[in-house]
Symmetry: C2
Subunit: 156 residues, 2 copies
């Protein structure tokens, strides 16, 4: 996790390939980007060690895991002191249904993305999870009708 000095064009091509397929073997990756195995492997390693590559993950199908629906919820707190923001944010992040959670500018709110099973799962999440968190003032939910794009990372 040192510095990440210069990322050249070849690095970007490596990143592009590994973002598409995180299990590419070094041999195939080298072929794709037009290097031989050794320098390619050295670059991948450097990208990992400098933290440009943060890790690798299997991408799982939400539907197959029984949580087909996605809800975006804007959350407003009663108070906005540092302690409150920290503790509430931590509690949000610990809920397994919450896939993403962001602290936002503006009125010091959160936006969270939640995976649920239908309106019933949504109601259960609200009543048994979100509404039990102390300090919540208000929430406003929107169901996702269609996911048009969902990238794991920015485009290299």
């Amino acid at each position: 996790m040192a510095q990440s000095p210069k990322i050249d064009d070849t690095d970007r091509r490596i990143l592009r390939e590994l973002r598409r397929d995180g299990r590419l073997s070094n041999a195939k990756l080298a072929e794709q980007v037009g290097l031989s195995a050794t320098p390619c492997w050295n670059r991948v390693r450097a990208l990992e060690e400098s933290g440009v590559i943060e890790g690798y993950a299997a991408l799982l199908n939400q539907k197959a895991l029984g949580l087909p629906d996605t809800v975006l919820i804007e959350v407003t707190l009663e108070r906005h002191d540092d302690d409150m923001l920290y503790r509430f944010g931590k509690a949000l992040a610990e809920l397994p249904e919450v896939m993403e959670a962001y602290l936002l500018t503006g009125e010091y709110d959160y936006l969270i993305k939640v995976a649920v099973a239908g309106t019933q799962g949504y109601e259960e999440f609200l009543r048994h999870k979100l509404y039990k968190l102390p300090g919540l003032r208000h929430s406003r939910s929107t169901f996702v009708l269609r996911t048009l794009k969902r990238e794991t990372s920015v485009e290299p």
Copy 2:
């Protein structure tokens, strides 16, 4: 991409490990979940073929790639006929800065998550990209102050 019939406890453990580390070797994975190599590999393959595992990806550091900031933008269209919704959504998804794009319930809007470099990059995105899309009526942006959680998939 056939059906995904029953996912048992062992499958879930496999998925949990592979979500954490998508490059785990089958040998180590088998050890982690308490199987020997072959049955473990058969399960992984079945999970891949049934679409439960959608793929594997390297996770890239947004900051290292020069787009350290994230903006959430609510987008409202002028008209909401099917053709418009489809074409606008497609145009949104094609912008490389857009990492996620959702079509929402309510007033038939989009929410997009965009990676930019500071307020300057944000302004450029608005002027040169978003505002050039035909049919846009209104947009409302919020900067992300802190990312509290960002999972690639739902928890298995």
